[in-house]
């Protein structure tokens, strides 16, 4: 066999591998779209998205996901409010302030956090966090959006910390030196030079962290109470889009309206994560073009 032939075969194999990934995504999206489309045709898009009640087993069945969307967004927003400041500050501490020994230990602990299965986090949250929140805030149940936010913050932290830390560390030393040489203090340098230069990477880290949170199912299902009503405060039980699919898929009739409604929820989730990833991509690209 001549070298040209081997070359072209390897090239085709690599091409095939690349194509397969795309094909899978397209197939998944197509499948979602197909089932969702049937549902939308039977039930109506607006009634679905803006409907406040989710009663799949009453007759006639009502499929309004608005409460679920609010539930998902509320839990995600809460998680972001906790995880983003904490994550960025941790990343700053690891890359700029910590002594070498502390830095290595911290970094491996953060990476270990990413390896904890979500169900374990949910389980620990259920037996420790939920009773704590119930007694601490003196509310009837500890299964609230707030509990979900805390558990999910733990899941988003490792992503946010490790990607932000990479971005902060890749700020050229010469930038910092230039700032110091102009008489800037360490804090001024971090705030006005380091954070500014690392900002696209940090934003991408936040987006990826949030993307992970919004798609999370089991952990959040275990601690949020699973009540499909529009919450009035963060101390109300909520149900998320993902939790709904996970709990109800087993009870549906294949091809039925309920079954297809769950696919429509999948479509909503897919759109949300797609938007988040798209925004993250924009920032990542902006970052790499600059360097």
């Amino acid at each position: 066999m001549n070298r040209k032939l081997i070359d072209s075969i390897i090239e085709k194999i690599i091409f095939l591998c690349g194509i397969i990934a795309i094909v899978f995504v397209v197939l998944i999206f197509g499948f979602l779209l197909k089932e969702g489309f049937y549902f939308f045709k039977d039930y109506g898009v607006f009634k679905f998205v803006l409907g406040q009640y989710w009663y799949p087993s009453s007759s006639p069945a009502v499929f309004g996901v608005f409460a679920l969307i609010i539930g998902s967004l509320l839990v995600t927003l809460g998680a972001a409010l906790i995880a983003v400041p904490l994550g960025i500050m941790t990343a700053l501490f690891i890359s700029e302030l910590a002594p070498k020994g502390v830095r290595d230990v911290l970094k491996s602990i953060v990476e270990l956090m990413a390896a904890i299965p979500s169900i374990v986090l949910g389980f620990v949250g259920m037996v420790t966090l939920v009773p704590f929140i119930r007694t601490a805030f003196n509310i009837p149940t500890g299964l609230t959006a707030f509990s979900g936010s805390i558990v999910l913050a733990f899941m988003a932290m490792p992503t946010i910390v490790s990607i932000s830390e990479d971005a902060i560390r890749s700020v050229p030393w010469s930038y910092k030196e230039g700032a110091y040489a102009l008489g800037a203090t360490k804090w001024q340098t971090i705030r006005r030079v380091v954070l500014k230069a690392a900002m696209p990477g940090i934003i991408a880290a936040v987006m990826l962290g949030i993307g992970r949170v919004i798609g999370e199912t089991m952990a959040v299902l275990m601690v949020t109470g699973n009540a499909s009503a529009i919450p009035t405060s963060i101390f109300d039980p909520v149900r998320t889009l993902t939790a709904t699919i996970a709990t109800e898929m087993g009870e549906t009739v294949r091809g039925g309206l309920h079954y297809r409604a769950l696919f429509a929820i999948g479509l909503v989730l897919f759109s949300i994560t797609f938007i988040i990833n798209f925004i993250a991509d924009l920032f990542l690209n902006k970052n790499s073009k600059k360097g």
Partner: protein, 253 residues
């Protein structure tokens, strides 16, 4: 300490070490007001270490240690707040580092960060700094253009202007022309000669000819020791030390 009226910086018995290895040996040297003191010498002669000690940039290196003292206007710099010191003793690096923002913002950056100027006279500060750095005529019509797109020589003069905006007393130049072509180099040198009317300048250079062109006085460093310091004319015409003569005539180094 014996300082004369005209001395800006007095270095007294300075010894510097990196991880215990001595890089500067028992250095005694003065920098006079409004002069350009050129420091020449081969690599590893301690020129840059010396320069970075003058504004305490070495403080950030944990392996660095020193003995001896440096006085700026009779005040020991090691008793001063390092950030305050660096606003009085500015530093220019070999590689120009324009920040990824507009020309105007690059100049206004340090005064803003340090809270030195209010917004009203920022325009004047930017204009004056750019004029003093011999850059105003080339960029006055595009102050809002990105600084990254400037040529290397312009970037270096931009960095000079950026330092001038905080109005230091001393400017340290660390091989400022090492990456520049002869025409850009000439412009930076022209700026330096103009600047010495207002500022005191210490110039580290690998380019012996540059020292002869701009230096009021010239010091020759070798292996961490000060071999000789005198007026530039004397160093280049009749050096006292054989090693100095060998170096400037290009016999070694």
């Amino acid at each position: 300490m014996v300082t004369k009226e005209n001395d800006k910086i007095t270095v007294e018995n300075l010894n510097c070490f990196y991880s215990g290895k001595q890089v500067l040996k028992n250095l005694n040297l003065t920098v006079e007001k409004n002069e350009i003191l050129s420091i020449i010498g081969p690599s590893n002669s301690g020129k840059t270490s010396f320069l970075r000690t003058l504004n305490r940039m070495n403080d950030m290196n944990v392996n660095f240690s020193r003995e001896g003292n440096i006085y700026l206007d009779k005040e020991n710099i090691f008793d001063m707040n390092p950030e305050k010191l660096r606003t009085r003793v500015g530093m220019l690096f070999a590689m120009p580092i324009p920040l990824p923002m507009s020309i105007y913002d690059n100049i206004a950056y340090a005064p803003r960060v340090l809270g030195l100027k209010n917004r009203k006279n920022m325009d004047e500060v930017v204009e004056q700094s750019l004029k003093d750095a011999y850059l105003w005529d080339e960029v006055k019509d595009r102050l809002n253009a990105s600084a990254i797109k400037m040529s290397g020589g312009q970037q270096q003069r931009l960095c000079i202007a950026r330092i001038l905006a905080i109005e230091p007393e001393v400017i340290l130049f660390d091989e400022p022309c090492s990456g520049l072509d002869p025409i850009s180099t000439a412009k930076v040198e022209e700026a330096m000669l103009k600047l010495k009317q207002k500022y005191t300048i210490v110039l580290v250079t690998n380019n012996v000819k540059q020292a002869s062109r701009v230096g009021t006085r010239t010091a020759f460093f070798l292996m961490g020791e000060l071999v000789e310091v005198d007026t530039t004319k004397k160093i280049f015409v009749s050096p006292q030390n054989k090693k100095t003569e060998d170096y400037i005539t290009g016999r070694f180094g």
